[in-house]
Amino acid sequence: MRDWKALVRARVGPLSLDGARDADIVAELAQHAADHFAELVANGIDDREAERLALAPLNDRDRVALQIAGADRPRNPAPDPPPSGGTALANIPRDVRYAVRLLRRSPGFAAAAIITLALGIGANAAIFSVVRAVILRPPPYHDASRVVAFLNGKTGATGSITSSSLPDYEDWRRQLTSFSSIGILSGWTFNATGLDLPERLFGARVSGSLFPLLGTPALLGRTIEPSDDGPSGDEALVLGYRVWQRLFAGDPNVIGKPLMLEGRPHYIIGVMPARFRFPTDDTEVWAAIKNNMTGMPRNGRFMAAVARLKDGVSIAAAQTEVDTVEAQLEAAYPDTNRGWRVRLGGIHDVAVGDAKPALLTLVAAVGFVLLIACANVANLLLARATSRSRETAIRLALGASRRRIVAQWLTENLVLSLTGGLFGVAIAFAVTRVIVTAGPPGVPRLDETDVDVAVLAFTFGISLVAGVLPALLPAFRAAKSSTSSSLKEGVGGSATTGRNRAGATLIVCEVALAMTLAVAGALLLKSYARLAAVRPGFDPAQVLSLKVFLTPPRYRTVAQNKQFIASALDRLNQISGVESAAAISQVPISDPSSTQLFDAEDKPTAPGDRPAAGYRAVSASYFKTMRISIVRGRPLTDDDRIDTPLVVVVNEATAKRVWPSENPIGKRIKWATGVPQFDSQWHTVVGVAADVKSNGLDRPEAAAIYAPYTQRMFPWLRWTGFVLRTQSSPDGYARIVRQELTNIDPMQPIYEVHSLEHVIAQSVSTRRFHTGLIDLFAALALGLASVGVYGTISYWVSERSREIGVRMALGADARSVGMMVVGRASVLTAAGIALGLALSIATSRLLTTLLFNVQPFDPPTVVGVATLVSGVAIAAAYIPARRAARLDPLTVIRGE
C-alpha cells in the first residue's frame, strides 16, 4: 500500500503557512493521485508506471507550490495573533523540525558550520570557566567586597600585601576607626614531625581577629578565635582541606588531635573548606601568632594586614583616614617609616592581581576566534542563501511574511550554533582539564576551573549570539530579495554581486582579526623567546637545589643553625658525583629576597634614605658552585670564619648604587636592622660579584650583599638552601641527598628538591602558559580565516566560471586565470592585513604588561606576521585558483 501523502509531500514541499491547511491540501492531492493511480492500474498499466504517471504533474515542485499558494491565499481572515508573540513561539517547533530536515540534506555545510562554531564556542567556554574561577567567583569570605588588604610600599612603588610590620599593625588597630576589625598574618613554615616522614607545611600565623573578620565558617570544628591568640595556653591549629586529605585522609575525628609542629604540640581545632585558601593558594595550615613574633622590628615588613570596612564607610573614606595615620607614623618613626604609604585594595582584586591582564588578553583572543568563526558561518550562509533564493521567493509567494522568513533563517542557524555549542562544551571540558593539570602554579584558584552551571549558561548565551550574529546579514538579504527576480531561472547579476561584496567584507574582517591575534601571539612568543634566552648570571645546568627550614627546638640558636649547615655541606660534598656543594639563604629565582638596610662608612645618609640590599648568607663554595664570576677583589673563602674579620662580597648593583665611580673593595658597611647588637660591627667589602637574576629572569638584579654564613648573627633567616653541582643529571641525586641530610637529623624536613633548570622553567611557566594559549588561539584564528578565504574565493570562482571560460576562450592561459583568482584573494588579504594592523595598534595596550623586552608595536614582528597571514590566505586561494585554471572554456560557456 502506497503512502500517497508521503509521496505527494516529498514532491511539493511547503504549500501553506497554515499547518492544518497544508495537511489538508496534501491529503486532497494525495487522494487525487491515488484515484488516478487506481484507474491507471485498472486499465492494465503496471504499478510503477502508474505511480510515475499519477505523480508526474507534481514534479515541478516550485510551480505547483506557487500556483496552489496563489490560488489558496488568503483563505480565511488570519486569526488574531495571540497577545504576546504566541505565533512566533508556536512556530518554533515547526521551524526547528524544518531546519533539522534541511541541514540533514546538506551535511557538508552543516558539519563545516558546526565544527567552526564548536571551536569558537569551545574556546570561549574554556576561557570563561578559567576567568570565572580566577576572577569572577568571589572568594568564600563573608561579604568579601567589604574586606580590604593593606598594600604597603615606598612612595612611588606599587605596594604589596606582604609588606606590613607587626608594630605598624598595632598602631593601625589602635587608631583607625574606619574598620570594624583589622587582622594580620605572617606566612610561616612549620616543620611537622611525628608523621611517617618529617614534613614541611607552609601556612600562616594569624591574629585572633583574622578568621572572625573573614567570616568563613569552618568545615569541621571551628576557626581561630581571639582567645586562641593569648600569650599562654595551647597552640591551636586549623587545617586546610588539602592537608587534611593528605595527612589525615579526611578523617572527621581529627579535631582535638595534636600535630607536632616545631617540636610542640599544636591542637587541631578545625578544618577549612577546600575553597578557603588565605592568603595564597599554597597556604595549608593556620596557627595563632601568640608570642611567636614578639620583638619584631617596625621595619620587619613581611606580614599581610587585612581589614573589614565598617558599614557605611567607603573604601575612599577609609583610605583618607589611613593616609592621616600613616603620616603620623612617618613623623613618629622617620627611621623606619619615612616614605612608606598604605594603599587599600579590595581583597579579591589583590588576590587576582597579576593574573588579570593575562586573562583579559585570553578573553579578547577567544572573542576574536569566535568572531572569525561567526564570520565564516555567515559566509557559508551567504553562499547558501544565494542557492536558496528560489526557495525563499517561493516562501514569500506562499505568503510568508519577511519576518517569518528571517525567523526561519535564525532558527536554522540557532540549530547549528546550539549543536556547535554542545560540541563546544565537550571541547571546554577537555580544555579545562588540560588547563587545570598543565596550568602554571602562579595563577590563583586556577585549579577551581570547572565547567559548571554558570559556564553552561554562558556557553548557551554565546551559542545564541553565535547563532543570531552570522544569520543576520544573509537573513535580511534573503528577506529583501524580490520574489520575481529570484524566481527567474538564471540567477544573475545583482544578487550575486551583493553576496560577493558581503563575503568580501567578511573576509577582510576575518583576516584583520586573525592578523591582530597573530601579531599578539607573535609578540608574546618573541617575549618568551627573549625571556628564555636571558642569561641568569649563573650556570643552572646540572645543579640541584633543595631547602631546609631550621626551627626550634633543635635549631634555636644561630650556632645550632650553622652547625647543621656545616655538617650538611660536609656530607653533600662527599657524595660521589657531586663536584661541589654550597649553602645559600636565598636560592636564586625560587626564594624571595630578604632585604636589609645598611650604612656605608663613607656615604652617610639620612635615616629614611638608607640603601637596602638583599642579604644572602652563603658558604664560601657558593660562587664556584653556581659559576658566578667575581668581577673585582676576591670571593669568600673557608678562611672567613666567625673569629676572623667580618667581610662581605657585594654584587655589581650594590657597587653601582653606593659607589658608582669608586672601587668598593676595602669600603666598610654595617647593617641597620634596628637591633643594636647587630648594627654595631663594620664589614669590609672584599669582592664584587657579577649580578645574577635572583628575583626572576624578567627582573633586573637588585642590590645584594653576600656574607659568609659562618659570620651570620641575625637569628632570623631560618631557611637555608643548598645547591650542588653534579656530574650527571641532577635529579638523579635527589634520593641520596635526602638520605644524607636525614642521616644528620631524621626530624628535619627537606623540601623543594629541584634542579635549577626546573626552577627557572617554573618561574616562566605562567608566561609560557599564556603564550602557548594565545598562540594556540592565533593558530586557530588563522586556520579559520584561511577556511573563510578558501570558501569565499571558491564561491567567487564558481560565480565567475562563465567569465573565466570566456577569457580562456579569448586566449587567456591557465596561468593568468590562476593569477586573477590569487590576485582577488591578495586584494582582500591586503585590506584585512591593513585593518588588522590598525586593530593591533589599538589593542596593543592590553599586551604591554605581558611583554618582555619587546615593544607592543614591533615592526619586524608585524612584517613577519603579515607575510605569514598573506601566505596562508594565498595558499587557501590557491586551490580554487587551480580549479579555475583547469576549467574547460567550452563546457563552461555552453553549460549554462
Partner: protein, 111 residues
C-alpha cells in the same frame, strides 16, 4: 501557448461551476468528467485542477468539505454556493455573448 492557458483557465472555471451545478463532486471526479465530456480536448491533472478549485473556493463560489462514505476513503466534495450559482448564470451569459460575437466575426459554431 500562454493565451491558450489563459483561455483554458477562464473556461475551466465555467466548466467546474457547471459540473457542480448538477451535484456535489470531488476533485478527481471533476477531472474525469471534464476529460470525458470534452472528448479529451480539455485535460486537468492534479497540479492544474486544484489551484482552480482553491481559487473558486477562495472567491466563495464553491465550498469544499471532507466526506467519509462507508467503504470509501475520505474525499473532499465541493458544492456550488448561492453566490456560485449567481456567478455561473452571469458567466454563462457572458460566454454566450462572447461566442455569439466570435461566431459573427469568425463564423465559429457555438460549442
Amino acid at each position: 501557448m500562454s493565451d491558450d492557458r489563459e483561455l483554458r483557465k477562464g473556461s475551466a472555471e465555467l466548466l467546474i461551476l457547471s459540473l457542480l451545478e448538477e451535484r456535489d463532486r470531488h476533485g478527481y471526479e471533476l477531472a474525469k468528467l471534464i476529460d470525458r465530456r470534452s472528448g479529451g480536448e480539455l485535460t486537468f491533472h492534479v497540479a492544474s485542477l486544484y489551484p482552480i478549485l482553491y481559487r473558486l473556493e477562495r472567491k466563495g463560489l464553491i465550498q469544499g468539505r471532507w466526506v467519509e462514505k462507508s467503504g470509501e476513503r475520505r474525499r473532499r466534495f465541493y458544492r456550488l454556493t448561492a453566490h456560485g450559482e449567481k456567478t455561473l448564470a452571469l458567466q454563462r451569459r457572458s460566454w454566450h455573448t462572447f461566442f455569439a460575437a466570435l461566431n459573427r466575426v469568425a463564423r465559429l459554431r457555438q460549442a
